[in-house]
């Protein structure tokens, strides 16, 4: 377990650094999917195999593909020097982020969480589904949250269509009559 933990932690964090520091945007997207794969491995270790499957399906599959589409539509060939992809706050941003990370890590590991032991997660998919739908004891609020999330997804789909729709006579017109 410790070996798997070390491997997954290294994979996740190194891929995250690759997202931030790689020159090519496409390489950033691929590093991002590697980091998400590491996180899904953590979910398997944490007794949430269904959530790991969701992570692979949604993040590694869907979000990466959508971002690659975004890159395909918006990138022009350009000089890939660090001066052109990173703004002037490189070291200031590093200091801020390192401060945030060190502070969070210190607080989270200095806190006494009481009697913690692994194995409390809903390993059974049936129990997990009852939690998610708000049927089980103490999870009633998830009935409301589930419905709100479904409405939010519908609104997001409509908003994405409306925002990115091409208006008549604006922008690039590749000879398509509307």
């Amino acid at each position: 377990m410790t070996v798997a933990f070390a491997f997954l932690a290294g994979m996740t964090l190194v891929s995250a650094l690759g997202v931030v520091l790689s020159r090519s945007v496409v390489h950033s997207a691929l590093f991002m999917s590697g980091s998400f794969l590491g996180i899904s491995g953590f979910f398997v270790m944490l007794n949430a195999p269904a959530l790991a499957a969701f992570q692979v399906l949604i993040y590694v599959g869907a979000v990466t593909v959508v971002i690659l589409f975004g890159i395909m539509f918006t990138q022009r060939p350009q000089v890939r020097r660090y001066r052109t992809i990173i703004n002037r706050q490189f070291w200031a941003g590093f200091l801020v982020a390192a401060g945030v990370g060190a502070f969070l890590a210190y607080v989270l590991s200095a806190e006494d969480w009481g009697g913690t032991k692994p194995g409390n997660g809903p390993r059974q998919v049936a129990a997990f589904g009852r939690d998610l739908l708000g049927v089980s004891q103490g999870a009633e609020v998830f009935t409301l949250l589930f419905e709100v999330a479904s409405v939010l997804l519908l609104v997001a789909v409509v908003a994405a269509i409306v925002v990115s729709r091409r208006k008549m006579g604006q922008g690039i017109d590749r000879g398509v009559r509307e």
């Binding site: 997202v19 998400f36 949430a48 975004g70 703004n87 692994p118 997660g121 990115s164 922008g171």
Partner: protein, 116 residues
Amino acid sequence: MPQQVQQFLHALVAAPPLNGYLVVGAFLFAIGAWGALIRRNAVVIFMCVELMINGVNLTLVAFADYLPNAGGLGVSYAVLVIAIAAAEIAVGLAIVLAVFRSRRTVNVDEVTSMRG
């Protein structure tokens, strides 16, 4: 087999402590914040925001598995967070596409029309 080797093997197969997961989540959040601060490309900034969301998700699921009184509900919260992040990425990329169509750039330093 010597005592030390046995202890080492025992530590190797034991479950890692809760703090390990929390520290990995905190560092993932920090790396994402760094990228969101320093990169110029709007699409890469979205990727870094996704990294931050994943760090928080890891923390939620670790708490759900390790704290006895959490009832495992952190996993359900993580599903909701994934749904909301997917909605955010859809709307955000639509906005990036609209900005690129009118400005021919996705560089956030050059899109300054809302600066006061």
